[in-house]
Symmetry: C2
Subunit: 507 residues, 2 copies
């Protein structure tokens, strides 16, 4: 692990605070931080109505590997403050050396792939104050980014309406490998990323680029020769990019010629890829040409700046336009595959998730755990205090209707269930027994302080959790534009605790 | 180097094309690819008028380390196509094993930190077709992202008008370490990122977060105690975050109390940080309070969702508002430091740069180098063909007035200098001798095929190049909103070659 990827992958203030806690004798007091996000991604003209959590397994792996070794301590030894003083004392460094890394931590989390909502604890960390403070930056970096991308990928997948989405974003991604992982959790069926696909145990996807056709144009017989070469090397996997010269005048006719040659030799061609122009129109026209030549099963891969709204729009245009060319719209839609690049891998429109990590409780000797909060002039930004549990309530249709935070010893079995709005006084919701089909606790133990790690499965399990959760969302919450707001609530007792702390700390 | 960070950090189609080139006997033919970007970042309400190139040194380092080792070949050995066939033959893998990595490459680049413009070659790569094709994805990933962030950072730095910008974006960055590096090339004076600062040889920045105040609120005497503890541990570096409870009613008065205690002991307090609310108004009000207590030199650090327009707006509001509170606006502006987070680290508004890597020439036996292009229905997207040089023309004021691509043997000394628009026929510009103060070649040799690497200096040299280049830009090009368009041109001979190829390849 390089010096910039290990335990020093952190903001300096985590370390200056750590030294302060240590000097004040507070370093080993147990504290709890909750990781939440404040709002769904807002892409400008469209908005997410839910998020898909991702990034936990890589974060846990990073925690296990990140250590204060000699190199890390040397970096801290050399840190100078603006006033020219050495920033960290030798005694403190010796303490860090003894601590070693992210030890003595209990951690609960909502498993990867699950649907999550704002202001609810997605990851809960308990441990020595110094250690859990140091964890903040790395935890947020892993979880913010992968959750952002899994969320975007889930939207793309929903827009594709059962069509396959493939992640093609490496070249313009800000961080391709975690983007690939998160896209697959979010619903993409695979990625062009060779290395990361190997790590994840999925088959990488892809065929050829314009450059191959350009090479044959410059030094051999042009596009047709390029396609023939591809068919010769990959006779049973022949998927041709048809827009290097002119899609309908050159690319598709040349592809059909090569497909016919393959068929004559007993091979089944795979299909074509369209990477420019009016993709909906070209899909219909290409499908008509392929059908006429007897390649009704040939796949049409679409790429070029796709996002959820473009995919939605392409599908709707095809439904309108196909009949005009004597083509069955459904037969076109069913053969489409979507190659999605930078707009998924960077979460175009909203490139950061506003995840935060806030102190909610701290041990205080004989008093035990003291709830903490951070107050704010904006009521929605006041941190929900104390040690909490997170529940998902399913309605009589089996659909998720609210995520509820409770105190640790709250009774969730009594009916009707009373719920409070997290910040607006007096806004209550009362759910009678008949309106509740299930109450599910969704935070799961992941790490315990003895060092054991729960097995939450791999990427396939995470994909399965996403699918199951999304299917239990109201269609209005899943809407791509202006989605319906999902309920996030507090139990009455947690509401009361929050008000008590606001009253105590407000100036 | 892990399997996902090495030579398999690539799109699958680079490898399928590589195998095809090898089977067709084309693998070792020398080819040239040009890396360009198509358009300046467009952030929606504001747009960049120039880019700052970054990412070259990490890319060169990656190239040197990325190798086909046993693990990489095993991954390829196990790749299966959709039809269930093994994708890569053992003979091809054995060839890759012999090739080893990114060998036999000549590479020229515009050095990091320099200002660059669309459709001009920023990186030029010559080498065996198979090898340079494989380089595409990794090259673009490194250069697209760092250039994007260095560009954004340069805009923030310009908006700050000489005020210091510090990079604080780790927790919500998509890729914090390269973002930190690029932000510093783009003009940030430092970063909170401890590990990356160590790698770059800069001092990391930061003091404390809300959580420290929250801890003292929960288990000790509250904000004042927290500030006193901080002052005790860091008496000569005391910079206090004053918005945990109420900035003007609690935070600033408590900070001043602690500053007075420090002063009594002979220390000089550093300042305060504002992280919420109306930052312009609070800066003025805090400055007035600090002045009154005799802390006229105390720094005011601003953070909370800053970007170039917010910084611009805050400065202009302070200029308006300060006099109303009896404060000298300049004295407030001069003490400001800007802590910029996710909006810089993710390039909020436009999170990807549309860098491309296109074949422009290929060797063809006795014919020597053949120019190549990619044609398109959109004239601006037609690739500028052939082996070219890139020049920057300075006008009689010493300001950069055009970037010009020429053929390799074009005469750039003749006056007047004739320039052509890259895609619009008949658009010419003629520069007389008196209007030209300099013609500078801006592509520099970086790698040669014998393996030698040019020394382009470190991060400080890159910072210096940015500053020098930005100062030689027209103020209209530097404007944050709707910037003036910089000229990118072709020599007449390159224009003619381009037209000849379009005529030859157009369908």
């Amino acid at each position: 692990m390089s010096i910039s990827d290990g335990i020093l992958f952190t903001d300096l203030y985590q370390l200056t605070m750590a030294q302060l806690y240590w000097r004040m004798g507070m370093a080993e007091r147990r504290a709890q931080f909750d990781h939440t996000f404040r709002s769904y991604p807002d892409y400008g003209k469209h908005q997410a109505g839910y998020c898909v959590v991702a990034g936990l397994a890589p974060m846990i792996e990073w925690m296990a590997e990140a250590r204060f070794g000699a190199a890390e301590l040397d970096v801290l030894r050399s840190c100078e403050s603006a006033s020219g003083h050495r920033l960290f004392g030798e005694d403190f460094l010796s303490y860090l050396n003894d601590v070693g890394g992210f030890v003595d931590i209990d951690l609960w989390a909502v498993p990867e792939g699950r649907v999550v909502h704002p202001d609810t604890p997605i990851t809960v960390v308990q441990g020595p104050l110094l250690v859990v403070q140091l964890l903040e930056t790395g935890l947020l970096h892993h979880l913010n980014f992968e959750t952002l991308i899994a969320t975007k990928a889930s939207r793309m997948t929903e827009a594709a309406h059962g069509g396959a989405v493939i992640e093609f974003g490496m070249r313009r991604a800000q961080n391709a490998n975690p983007a690939t992982r998160a896209a697959i959790i979010g619903g993409a069926i695979g990625s062009s990323n060779v290395g990361m696909s190997a790590v994840l145990g999925t088959e990488p996807k892809g065929t050829h680029a314009h450059s191959m056709v350009q090479v044959f144009m410059a030094v051999a017989g042009g596009e047709l020769d390029a396609f023939r070469a591809y068919a010769e090397v990959y006779p049973d996997d022949c998927l041709l990019l048809v827009d290097t010269i002119d899609t309908l005048e050159s690319g598709v006719p040349n592809a059909i010629k090569v497909f016919e040659e393959l068929r004559a030799k007993g091979h089944t061609p795979v299909g074509i890829r369209l990477d420019s122009g009016d993709l909906a129109h070209l899909s219909v026209r290409s499908a008509a040409m392929l059908d006429k030549a007897g390649f009704e099963d040939a796949t049409i891969v679409l790429s070029s700046q796709l996002d959820e709204l473009t995919i939605f729009q392409i599908r709707s245009q095809i439904a309108d336009e196909a009949p005009r060319y004597g083509v069955d719209a459904d037969s076109v839609l069913q053969r489409l595959v979507y190659g999605v690049g930078s707009r998924m891998a960077t979460s175009e429109g909203d490139p950061s998730l506003d995840g935060v990590y806030k102190l909610v409780a701290i041990e205080n000797g004989d008093d035990g755990w003291m709830p903490a909060t951070k107050i704010s002039d904006t009521p929605a930004k006041v941190v929900n205090p104390g040690q909490k549990r997170l529940w998902r309530i399913y309605d009589d249709r089996g659909q998720a209707t609210a995520d509820v935070m409770s105190l640790h010893d709250d009774d969730m079995d009594t009916r009707p269930l009373e719920l409070r709005h997290p910040s607006a006084p007096g806004v209550e919701r009362v759910l009678a027994a008949g309106r509740i089909s299930g109450v599910e606790e969704i935070l799961t133990p992941v790490l315990t302080r003895d060092g054991s790690v729960a097995d939450l499965g791999g990427i396939e399990e995470a994909r399965g959790r996403r699918l199951a959760d999304v299917e239990r969302l109201d269609p209005g919450v899943r809407r791509l534009v202006n989605p319906h707001l999902y309920h996030v609530s507090l139990t009455p007792r947690l509401w009361d605790l929050k008000q008590e702390l606001i009253a105590r700390f407000a100036h």
